[in-house]
Point group: C2
Chain length 300, copies 2
């Protein structure tokens, strides 16, 4: 399988569904055009669309074959975009650029950006619930899907990680805190993207645990590579300012483990992720393993 | 039925469940204590708990009798509290006091307040999904519950109303815009509180439409009374600054309709709400009608 072609095809599907959603929002209500425009702006600003692609790969790996599942997968990208909009706010990371473009609040103001982020989060839950309904999932499964996603994003997941991350700026932290931050801030959403795909395909508990373990490991690799790119990368290619972590006094994998050890940790995580997949036969066409390697080797 | 006693009993149930939730959050994760504390602070700051009480009254009115439904009803209070925390932020209404206490961001900072609000919203969806699962609702009903609530709060509901409200400050607006704002910002959540109760009790479409109409009308009355109290009320009793609307240059029902006409509009809305209930026999013990009258006659 040629991963590059596959990823490009899958990304096109996500992008076209996102364009459709954003156009629908704009048409739905002439009164709050700025809100809808801000939502569309951030959602169509690019991105690798890793989370929906992961979810669909896990869905297929567990035997799912209904293309209507894309609707739930794309909801994960809405959630991811919500986290980016709010993370960039002046009271959070205070970032001016994201993917080479002004951040949402730089373009639309803090007020509209805050509301656009929350509105995106709510749209994601609406999409998730509608998708579960369309797929006519068996009793309890859709409740579990919704509860898992809410839990992964909330105070015990992404938001909890963001809090500890912000509290740790310009402080010395230990490796356990670093792992806590990234297991929550980055890995939680990647992990639930994988298990969501499994749940939609009625995977059993053993398969769901394997998908969670795979998601946790690629989340760790993803974050380490992010930290490495911040040190070694090129601002233009990254679409954001390289060296931002250091400027902000953030502890990162390179600062706590060194460059060589960080690279080794990331490679080991990806290896573990691929081993779990193989053991549970969750990746017949090799897409999930290829995605894990892609995360390791990416340069932006 | 003595409404005062009934409301006090129902409020006690909500309050004790909320205390339990907040204590559970504090215990769940020692790492982000400030987030959990901020969530608990705003959630236990008082309030009439109208939304969960309405939901349970509608639930019983449609024949529901399972006390586990409280879990979904209380989720509405989490959502309401999320809207209050974010509405008070400096980039929104910039309020210093709420219910006689410093607002969340005045006590915990903008960053923590923003994250605590979002985390509360996500906790609400988790509670809703868990409640639907516990009640073992028939296929599709729980998806509809989740989608309706997300839709009522998002860009087509509460948030949409908030956007237009903020955009309208210090501008001349017409009556249609005033109605748009309050139908979305205030009524949407009250309306979905009523229909949520109905859905949990497997109400039919006719009953749901009646509950929505009742919710819309009491939402209108609620907002008009709020505006009137801002003009005529007492800051100490309100727990917030009376006259705030005028200071902020907000168009209100009294400014666009005058005091007498506003009072008449509110009374008519409550009358309509009670008529709908009677026509559909949705209020055997009279709680919903009593609640509507309570909303009209409240002084804080």
């Amino acid at each position: 399988m040629d991963l590059k072609t596959h990823l490009a095809e899958q990304k096109d599907i996500v992008d076209s569904r996102i364009t459709e959603l954003a156009q629908g929002w704009l048409k739905s209500d002439s009164r709050n055009g700025a809100l809808r425009a801000a939502m569309g702006y951030s959602l169509t600003a690019g991105g690798k669309r890793i989370r929906p692609i992961l979810a669909m790969a896990a869905y297929r790996g567990c035997g799912g074959g209904d293309s209507r599942a894309w609707r739930a997968a794309v909801a994960l990208e809405l959630i991811h975009t919500y986290t980016l909009i709010h993370d960039d706010l002046p009271s959070m990371d205070d970032d001016d650029f994201r993917r080479g473009k002004p951040t949402c609040h730089r373009k639309y103001g803090v007020r509209t950006a805050t509301l656009a982020g929350s509105s995106m989060l709510l749209a994601a839950f609406e999409e998730l619930a509608c998708c579960c309904s369309e797929l006519a999932l068996s009793d309890q499964v859709s409740d579990r899907v919704l509860a898992s996603v809410a839990s992964a994003v909330g105070g015990g997941g992404v938001i909890g990680g963001q809090v500890v991350d912000l509290e740790s700026e310009r402080r010395e932290i230990g490796r356990d805190t670093l792992h806590y931050i990234h297991s929550h801030k980055t890995a939680a959403l990647l992990r639930v993207s994988c298990t969501l795909g499994g749940m939609l395909a009625a995977a059993d508990e053993r398969q769901l645990a394997a998908l969670a373990s795979y998601g946790e490991d690629i989340g760790l690799a993803f974050q380490i590579v992010d930290d490495l790119l911040d040190v070694e990368g090129d601002s233009a290619q990254l679409g954001k300012t390289a060296g931002a972590d250091q400027a902000r006094g953030k502890a990162t994998f390179p600062t706590l483990y060194g460059l060589a050890e960080s690279r080794k940790l990331a490679a080991e995580a990806v290896k573990r992720a691929c081993t779990v997949l193989g053991r549970h036969k969750l990746d017949p066409d090799g897409v999930l393993a290829a995605l894990a390697r892609f995360i390791l080797e990416r340069s932006s």
